[in-house]
């Protein structure tokens, strides 16, 4: 990745997490801000949008996933056949993964999941603090309601923090344009102002999406100069910025500061396919491949994660087949293996013996598997624990 772009995103991600940490002091007074030092298992789930097997783990797609294929597959338990038997929309699929039940909700996230998420099960049973569970998402189809269910005995008090970092960048761009200042997207000082303004005036957090409720928010002034420098470099390169890069950087900052036990990350650069650019869709797959590898390396690097983390990586679903009446790769609506069938890779603690498990599994199998890793075996869930993993 272009180093100047990375500088911008890095600076912005630190800024955002700093901002969040400050606001958390008000929201959760009395709870420890950091969970580092807890000796516990960690689980990270990465869901990466709609990606067909044809563009990834079939012969036609291996060139798009060099890190997944060459670096990570040999040390993973790999499931080449995972079926999404639910609604192949983003909000429904992510909430199905989190709850272990197929969800049939408003696609635009108006309602919370109808069953408890694994965040709620684990936080309630194990008395985990709020900063132990996070959802960090690129996907604008989600809302902060994804972090906790509508079930009375569970719900937001046991839910996850939810952040949509990409929305910060989008808001800044749109704000500049709507105020008649397109030059701001090409001007370092102006763009910095747009970003800062959004952070300073995000009173209800809905624009950025996190569920932490605080009424104090201010910009960490220490970050301003690095932000300005990074934006200056970014503008000079005339290079695009991707939302998934920023989502990973925020995730890294959250891992360093809060060391959550449960972290769900959703990438969505590949969803540019909805607009019909196949080249940009492939670029999104390659970005995802690289970011997952960076995340894996970070897990090995951070003491809070090294040797105690299980990482699951999976597309939410595939995409429609070439020639479908839903316009092929553009969409994910057809009831067909191209859309319903995808893959899952498991790395780390639970994947001590590399293997390929060809028995078909389902997205709803992740929740009971994750619960089982934390010793919770008695949940009444329709999914089954994934075969081939170490307990």
């Amino acid at each position: 990745m272009d180093p100047s772009r990375r500088n911008l995103l890095k600076a912005t991600s630190v800024l955002l997490v700093e901002h969040l940490a400050n606001s958390r002091k008000f929201a959760f007074a009395g709870e420890p801000v950091s969970a580092s030092g807890r000796d516990e298992r960690k689980v990270i789930v990465v869901a990466c949008g709609g990606i067909r097997r044809a563009e990834t783990f079939l012969d036609t797609g291996l060139e798009n996933i060099p890190h997944l294929y060459h670096d990570l597959l040999p040390r993973s338990v790999f499931y080449p056949l995972i079926r999404n038997a639910g609604v192949t929309s983003h909000y429904n699929t992510i909430s199905s993964i989190l709850t272990g039940n197929w969800q049939r909700l408003d696609d635009w996230g108006k309602t919370p999941p109808a069953n408890p998420t694994f965040f709620e099960y684990l936080r309630k049973r194990m008395a985990l603090p709020q900063d132990a569970a996070w959802v960090i998402s690129s996907n604008k189809a989600l809302t902060s309601r994804i972090g906790a269910s509508s079930i009375r005995d569970f719900g937001p008090r046991y839910g996850a923090n939810v952040i949509f970092p990409k929305q910060l960048l989008i808001n800044a761009v749109i704000q500049a344009a709507s105020q008649g200042h397109p030059e701001h997207s090409a001007d370092r000082v102006a763009m910095r102002q747009e970003l800062e303004a959004i952070l300073q005036h995000a009173d209800n957090y809905e624009g950025l999406g996190w569920s932490v409720s605080g009424n104090e928010s201010f910009l960490d002034l220490r970050m301003q100069s690095s932000m300005q420098q990074a934006i200056e470099e970014l503008v000079r390169t005339n290079a695009p910025v991707t939302g998934d890069e920023f989502t990973l950087l925020i995730s890294e900052e959250v891992m360093r500061r809060f060391s959550p036990s449960l972290l769900a990350i959703t990438f969505s650069d590949v969803e540019v396919a909805h607009f019909g650019s196949y080249s940009m869709h492939l670029a999104g797959i390659r970005t995802m491949d690289r970011l997952v590898y960076e995340l894996w390396n970070l897990i090995q690097e951070l003491p809070a994660y090294r040797g105690r983390t299980t990482l699951f990586v999976l597309p939410e679903f595939g995409r429609d087949f070439d020639g479908s009446n839903t316009n092929g790769f553009f969409n994910h609506r057809s009831n067909n293996d191209s859309t319903n069938l995808t893959w899952l890779m498991c790395l780390g603690e639970a994947a001590r013996s590399a293997d390929v498990i060809e028995r078909p599994i389902q997205h709803i199998d992740l929740c009971p598997t994750i619960a089982g890793m934390f010793g919770i075996e008695d949940l009444d869930l329709p999914g089954k624990r994934l075969p081939g993993l170490s307990s």
Partner: protein
């Protein structure tokens, strides 16, 4: 512009009479049909005839007979609880689609709807003799500016076709098709084609319409992404006002669909006086699939929708160049890149070529979904490679060995022979 009414308009039933027939169908079949009836004068002849045929099929059943055909779907709708939904019977809405898609019976519902359509259509067609079909043509152009890979450009195309090397300047083919003495529009007219929806020119840039001979005896339906820019910009700005809420978005979509868009001076001349074609563009942009954002997606989706709605005899479609995403705009891709960034546009030839190659193939795959494909000749030309991929109509063969290069004029001559047969 001749927008001859279809046969259905002069038939025994009117759209008002059809409404009574639609009311005999299960709830979930009504929105699309009612929407078409409410816009009857803006439908293409093929669409009018298709609705008329369906209505004829419904009429062919006694009330108890139709009840038997639709009973499984009625029962399924009851299980799905459709009556309790906020379900529009008058128009297709995003909320309708969303409610159906998240039902646990969605797949079963799709199967049952298809069964009803198949049964009713079969009843209609049993009394309707089918006319002999003339050869149809889909002519796709990957312009010279797109550096496609000669090794892979045709790799995934229909195995029934042939790669053909062109021995001279392949750009000549497009000139012959639109400007030659035997241009396609003239040929169509010579065979009695007088309906503008029979010939479509769809362009990522602004070349095809300007090439079209001024003396062409009939007008074609001509859409150019570049020429539509003033309208696109305005439309996108309106669409981007939609909040993240299905009901509110449905309201905005309905407003945009009903808006006349006259008086703004936004339409290009070739569309300005064609309400049916203007409506097609609005529907195209509202149906997504990138048609508002990327020129090549516009071309592919316009071809697919023209095939679905107008079933034209001839389509000429030309792909083109898109710009590189500017800083920040790739994360706000639904925004107008020129509006959100003052940086100049920079061409992205390599990635435009990747997009165009798959989307040209999708255009042919879209045609392959319909029975008319059997009579369709498809030719896709890569001007950069001076090669083409030719899929002859079913049962037809190339008139020469595909291993031998062929000159543009000779290839066009063969094409016109097929077209006139």
């Amino acid at each position: 512009m001749n927008e001859r009414p279809g046969k259905a308009q002069t038939g025994t039933l009117s759209p008002d009479a059809y409404r009574g027939l639609v009311d005999r169908l299960p709830l979930t079949m009504r929105p699309a049909l009612n929407q078409q009836l409410s816009q009857w004068s803006l439908l293409f002849p093929f669409e009018q005839n298709r609705v008329a045929s369906l209505m004829k099929g419904i009429e062919a059943f006694s009330p108890s007979g139709l009840g038997a055909v639709t009973a499984p779907l009625w029962a399924l709708e009851k299980k799905m609880g459709v009556k309790d939904w906020n379900f529009s019977e008058t128009h297709d809405t995003i909320e309708n689609a969303s409610q159906l898609a998240r039902s646990e019976y969605y797949s079963e519902w799709r199967r049952e709807v298809q069964k009803v359509f198949d049964t009713v259509n079969a009843a209609a067609q049993s009394a309707t003799p089918t006319a002999a079909e003339r050869t149809r043509l889909i002519f796709l152009i990957l312009p010279r500016s797109l550096p496609v890979s000669p090794q892979s450009v045709w790799r995934q195309w229909d195995p029934l076709g042939h790669e053909v090397r062109i021995s001279d300047d392949s750009e000549r083919l497009c000139e012959l098709a639109l400007q030659g003495q035997q241009d396609l529009v003239t040929l169509a007219a010579q065979q009695g084609g007088v309906e503008s929806s029979d010939v479509w020119l769809i362009d990522a840039e602004a070349k095809l319409h300007s090439m079209l001979s001024n003396v062409s005896p009939i007008a074609a339906s001509s859409l150019g992404y570049a020429a539509l820019k003033p309208f696109r910009d305005r439309f996108l700005a309106e669409l981007n006002q939609a909040p993240k809420d299905i009901q509110a978005t449905d309201e905005i979509v309905a407003k945009l669909r009903l808006e006349s868009w006259e008086g703004w001076g936004l339409w290009p001349a070739e569309i300005a006086n064609q309400p049916r074609l203007r409506k097609f563009v609005i529907d195209l942009f509202l149906s997504g699939n990138g048609a508002l954002i990327f020129s090549n997606a516009f071309v592919e989706w316009a071809v697919a929708e023209a095939l679905r709605r107008a079933r034209p005899r001839t389509i000429v479609a030309r792909f083109g160049m898109r710009s590189k995403p500017k800083p920040f705009t790739s994360i706000a891709i639904f925004e107008n890149q020129q509006r959100v960034s003052s940086l100049p546009d920079v061409d992205d030839p390599e990635n435009s070529a990747v997009d165009a190659v798959i989307l040209a193939r999708y255009a042919w795959l879209a045609a392959s979904r319909y029975p008319e494909q059997q009579q369709t000749l498809c030719i896709c030309v890569s001007e950069h490679c001076d090669s083409a991929y030719v899929v002859p109509p079913a049962g037809k063969r190339l008139g020469w060995g595909p291993e031998h290069p062929i000159a543009s004029e000779e290839l066009y001559r063969w094409l016109t022979t097929q077209y006139l047969s």
